[in-house]
Symmetry: C2
Subunit: 230 residues, 2 copies
């Protein structure tokens, strides 16, 4: 009988490091944390940034409502079908302050995993509470967290209202909606503020790319050129 | 005032697809789901596979106790410090059957995110219940899920006992320990069975790599060679 335990210790020490993953990818991992009111343009700009990064050979990935609320942070109704009622009540996430805290906590931990994998994790959630965002920041190393405030006045967001959520909140059909009957706490010291009521999303996305280049997080050339040609 | 909502719809449709991410990476995303008793060698083999994949330019990432139980699926004691007692009791995961179900559910959703990012997600958890593994399988597309049974008899695992857990379980110091007083349900139809009591971890890892190559999930050459040289 082979004793794997000795090998285990050895190999755990030689697990692939973040630096080695970043070398394979040709750029650093990091977390771009978009925050702002519903309909401020977070998801639009986040997906544009993802698109632009991918086009220059950068490995990035967007975490947003589409892939998080239907999976990792599903609500009771969604969990019920697969796991039964009792499980769904115990583990399904709602929209109370505490459930939002857990929602953001989990997203922070997953963003950190992607960052450790050498990927640029892009999160696009309202994430209204400062303390929750600060905890997500504290999960990663200094300099890995780029907090991006997508700044648009409530009136602008409410006028857009692409999913009719503000209307429902004003009508009292949904409760605890950020900006209406739940507070949005703007970042005190975000790395970037995007003026999302004055500039088109395309311009804002370019600002983010330029910022990452200025920081040296990504090169200004497609990364495969730098690695395999230049 | 610019109307970003129209752009949003446009760009959501043009989000980077999984196929485009896989093209950048030079290989397919997938989920390698290791399952087996504690001390069967799951984590050892998983980390070796990760290491070998990385060495040939494949983007992979290991989810295991080290990075999941300290973050995403932290227990009450760990959450208490940052979030307070009431939050920790509400959201901290324990080791009851239901908590394990949620533990594996979350890991499945995160493995899917990595798979969608074009990465080979490698999970190394006991994951003792068949239904939990089957739900993780159902989260991804047919063929994306490779269930790998790390097969070692209980006696072998118990003799290794690198963390002294079996001893504690036998002494009644911990309860609900898989193989002692909680069941392990071996996979009915795993994609691979690794004979972890007869072969060294290195050989088992090579078997996994060969399987992925035979499936065409990864090339038999370093991927950058195929993309930029060949």
């Amino acid at each position: 009988m082979k004793d794997l335990s000795a090998i285990e210790v050895h190999w755990h020490e030689h697990a692939v490091s973040r630096k080695e993953r970043e070398e394979l990818n040709g750029h650093c991992g990091s977390v771009l944390w978009f925050t702002g009111l519903s309909a401020s343009g977070k998801s639009t700009v986040a997906n544009l940034v993802d698109h632009k990064l991918h086009a220059i050979g950068i490995h990035s990935f967007v975490l947003d409502g589409d892939n998080i609320r239907h999976g990792l942070n599903a609500g009771p109704a969604m969990l019920k079908q697969q796991h039964g009622d009792e499980f769904a009540q115990r583990f399904g996430l709602g929209f109370s302050a505490r459930d939002r805290e857990e929602n953001i906590r989990r997203i922070g931990t997953v963003a950190k995993l992607f960052c450790d994998a050498g990927v640029i994790a892009i999160t696009a959630f309202i994430s209204p509470y400062r303390a929750d965002r600060d905890r997500a920041r504290a999960m990663v190393e200094e300099g890995d967290f780029v907090e991006i405030f997508v700044d648009a006045p409530l009136e602008v967001c409410e006028a857009r209202d692409p999913k009719g959520m503000y209307r429902k909140a004003r009508a009292g059909e949904i409760r605890g909606f950020t900006g209406i009957d739940d507070p949005y706490e703007p970042p005190a010291h975000p790395e970037m503020v995007l003026n999302a009521s004055a500039k088109p999303a395309e311009t804002l996305a370019d600002e983010v790319i330029a910022y990452l280049q200025a920081l040296g997080k990504i090169g200004s050339e497609p990364s495969w050129q730098k690695r395999f040609v230049g």
